[in-house]
Subunit: 460 residues, 2 copies
């Protein structure tokens, strides 16, 4: 990989494509939420791209891709920049391609949307709502994140307990990918093939268009239920999920988070454990009855409009990595982990973990569905005591508790969520990024010798 | 109650009975372990008796009792002075009668001991052991406490999971009580009548002699088992107790106590929850197997001689209020509570309490037997945050968890363990302490108008 490239010549060839080279832009667009991890923060905070381009059309994307290939310059794609693992930090400098202007909602039909990859998820979901439909799921960063970034860097989130993880069959119908070659092609992937670019961190082609399933819209009630005992809150969550209560979000947040939910005041007092949920309006009576049957009480229940008028966050900003964010903003001594629990889930394991780790870990749990089964995740806050302590903790959670950790303190796909090299992604990379220019250093599966060896200057 | 009395005349009349009036003696013998409670400490720390007498025979006790009655001077009895509620703090000055010289072990026969009230429990138990027998139970203050103080101020302890509480029928066979009158009588109480002076804080007569049951001696193995999870440790303890494992002590101590058990090092590491136990030698294999079946491991198992040679405390100083003591000595921010759990005991309630109270409460639990049933007590450490917070906590544990609190932050019998006035004790007080001179202020059941109204100077 070369680090010397002719930036002036590259810039000149961009034509009217929007471009920035000043330090302020570059600094801001070279980072994401990697600072959640002190380990990544040390590694990544000084890294910068050298040029920021912001194409507005697929033609412009292709033009940039062609230039990148001919100049053999590293290319990092960027959506909302809300990833947590430095996914869009350019490890080797080069060009940052910001896709947020490639944002057209192309078409919304019954049960389906076609959209350009750089569209913000909120805008897409709002557009779907205008047709009485909504997205199957979104990350809690709905407001900032793009649909392409979600596909390439995310996994699931709000809605996942109703519709499974993003990668589950039927959620994404097709993607269009631009290859990074002197003469870029557009490849369309369908069905299972979509996995080739899913969660690939933009290492194997530029996703420019996505088709995805929609469902009938529900005016979800944003609500919280309070319990005296975190095991009771978890028990409740498992029970209602098993009983098929129709909800879009079900997050358990233990009482020690209450001070971080300042706006909520008595809605989330420090002596109660909370369930934040988005519940179908016609299910609210049942929800309330179930809460009370388990000795809890509903502290609020509002429509999205009401919750906005009350000056509170919507419930989807009370779960998943937003819970973590509330705490991290207020106390820099925290970092976090991503934990998947063995099935069937046992709340007593959590109580034991709470006891074992005391003040070192604060817990919240997310109810989801995976392969059709109930799957519980946790994103605990972890008091940071250095890298060794972090890996001791990871080993403990894995070996003692049978949990699976998606390590958020590493930059590669494999060390994080994926655990192993996805051969089909690497095979696709040979096709879509033959020179190995895309997001270098983010996949262990790609080695320098795999790059196509042509003379970089043939077309330059 | 008069506070002016003729101390010189009183002293002169004592004859050859040992007496001290210097401040050092008085300060030391006016206090007990009330400093466990910051609330009591504020109330009691400056209180002093005015004269210390140390009778050596029942005759001398009677002589003091007569003088006290004639001089109408408050009288506070004192054994080892190891009570936790200021039981032997003279609230209204007067005479302290230290009974530790009235300490003859009168007779040991098969199954029974007769002993003077001021004998240290350790000396009595050791004497019983010389005949192949042992006490049914003792407080963890075995070394310091007297048998009379245990009867009048204690309730149970080591051995209680095998033989019930001290008050259970058959444990004490008789007591001899000296009345506080100008002409003191000796009253002998048997069977159920013994309750009249049991746990009466020395307010209704001077116990001078006690008969109590003995059992065949066992060379208890002092041992600890470690578990990963406090619920697992508790589960184990309940199970072995239900299965009738023969043990004399079974205390669960959660991992956060480990730093307070410094001498134990790896025998009680900070990442494990401990069971401290005294187990019958022939049961050790079963104990070990049960520990391992529950995923734990035995960290040591020693005879009493071995444990002394290893420089460690015996197991009976690892449970009950000795656990509390280890912590209090090292961190003055702690105080404690005494908690009885509803039956049947549910370890999950404890996990919920641990979660709810976080760093504010550290937990240890004592397995006992009461009315023949398994009864669990806790003596949690409580981070002291003032009186209001303490009473909020007590209310919470009682109302939410159905626990019964024996409040150790009060000086009266009724506000502490007994909850209600014991009419039979008050009736007996009218007989044994007709002028209301004994330990004034310690029972709500006694009011000034109950005192016999004779002229105090008739015999003076
Ligand atoms: C507070 C907070 C809460 C979060 N909650 C969730 C959650 O609930 N669920 C969840 O899954 N994640 C969550 N995340 C992580 C992150 O927000 C999501 O993964 C989000 O979907 C990323 O979208 P983005 O547009 O910001 O992507 P970016 O961060 O911009 O990019 C993510 C990755 O995708 C690549 N990429 C971007 N666009 C394209 C494209 N068009 N083609 C190919 N590759 C591309 C980038 O190179 C990068 O590797 C959360 C993060 C934060 C900070
Ligand atoms: C570290 C520690 C651990 C403990 N563990 C336990 C335990 O496991 N179980 C338990 O029950 N308690 C326990 N206690 C409380 C206390 O040790 C016991 O109650 C003990 O039995 C008191 O005996 P003592 O001789 O020290 O009595 P003292 O403190 O001297 O007196 C206790 C009360 O009895 C009265 N009294 C004393 N002698 C007589 C007498 N001859 N006639 C009438 N009244 C008399 C006194 O006036 C006073 O009111 C513990 C205390 C400490 C500090």
């Amino acid at each position: 990989m070369t680090k010397t490239w002719n930036q002036a010549a590259f810039t000149a060839e961009l034509g009217k494509i929007r471009v920035h080279a000043d330090e302020k832009y570059l600094a801001a667009r070279s980072h994401d939420y990697f600072w959640y991890s002190p380990i990544l923060n040390d590694q990544l905070k000084d890294l910068r791209g050298e040029l920021l381009v912001m194409p507005q059309t697929v033609e412009e994307v292709k033009h940039v891709a062609s230039l990148v290939a001919r100049h053999r310059v590293p290319l990092t794609l960027r959506g909302g920049g809300t990833g947590n693992y430095g996914q869009c930090v350019p490890l080797e400098g080069g060009v940052i391609m910001d896709l947020t202007r490639l944002s057209e909602v192309i078409e919304i039909t019954p049960g389906h949307a076609r959209v350009q990859a750089g569209a913000r998820i909120s805008r897409l979901d709002d557009a779907a709502r205008e047709t009485g439909q909504e997205l199957l799921m979104y990350p809690s960063t709905r407001q900032m994140a793009t649909i392409g970034g979600f596909l390439a860097g995310g996994s699931g989130g709000i809605g996942s307990l109703r519709h499974g993880m993003l990668r589950d069959p039927g959620n994404i119908s097709y993607v269009k990918v631009v290859t990074v070659e002197p003469e870029p092609q557009v490849i369309e992937l369908h069905g299972d093939e979509i996995q080739k670019v899913q969660h690939a961190y933009g290492t194997n082609g530029i996703v420019v268009e996505i088709g995805l399933a929609l469902t009938k819209a529900t005016d979800w009630i944003h609500t919280a239920a309070l319990f005296d005992g975190y095991d009771r809150a978890l028990d409740f969550a498992i029970d209602v999920q098993q009983d098929g209560l129709d909800c879009y979000l079900l997050s358990a947040v233990e009482r020690r988070f209450a001070p971080y939910y300042r706006k909520f005041g008595d809605y989330f007092p420090a002596d109660r454990d909370a369930i934040f949920a988005m519940v179908a309006p016609e299910e609210m009576d049942r929800f309330r009855a179930d809460v009370e049957a388990k000795g809890g009480r509903v502290s609020f229940a509002m429509t999205k409009t009401e919750i906005q008028e009350a000056g509170l966050q919507p419930a989807y900003e009370c779960g998943w990595n937003h819970t973590t964010l509330q705490a991290l903003k207020m106390d820099k001594g925290w970092t976090y982990l991503q934990v998947a629990y063995p099935r069937p889930f046992d709340p007593e394991l959590v109580m034991r973990q709470m006891q074992r780790h005391g003040e070192d870990l604060f817990w919240h749990h997310e109810m989801a569905r995976m392969d059709g089964e109930i799957q519980i995740f946790a994103l605990p806050l972890v008091r940071y005591r250095g890298k060794d302590a972090m890996y001791d903790l990871i080993a403990e959670l894995e070996e003692k508790d049978g949990c699976t950790i998606f390590d958020p303190h590493v930059v590669t796909i494999e060390d994080g969520g994926m655990k192993e090299i996805d051969d089909s992604q690497i095979a696709f990379k040979k096709l879509a990024d033959p020179y190995g220019l895309m997001n270098p250093g983010k996949t262990r599966g790609w080695t320098a010798d795999m790059a196509r060896g042509e003379d970089p200057n043939t077309e330059n």
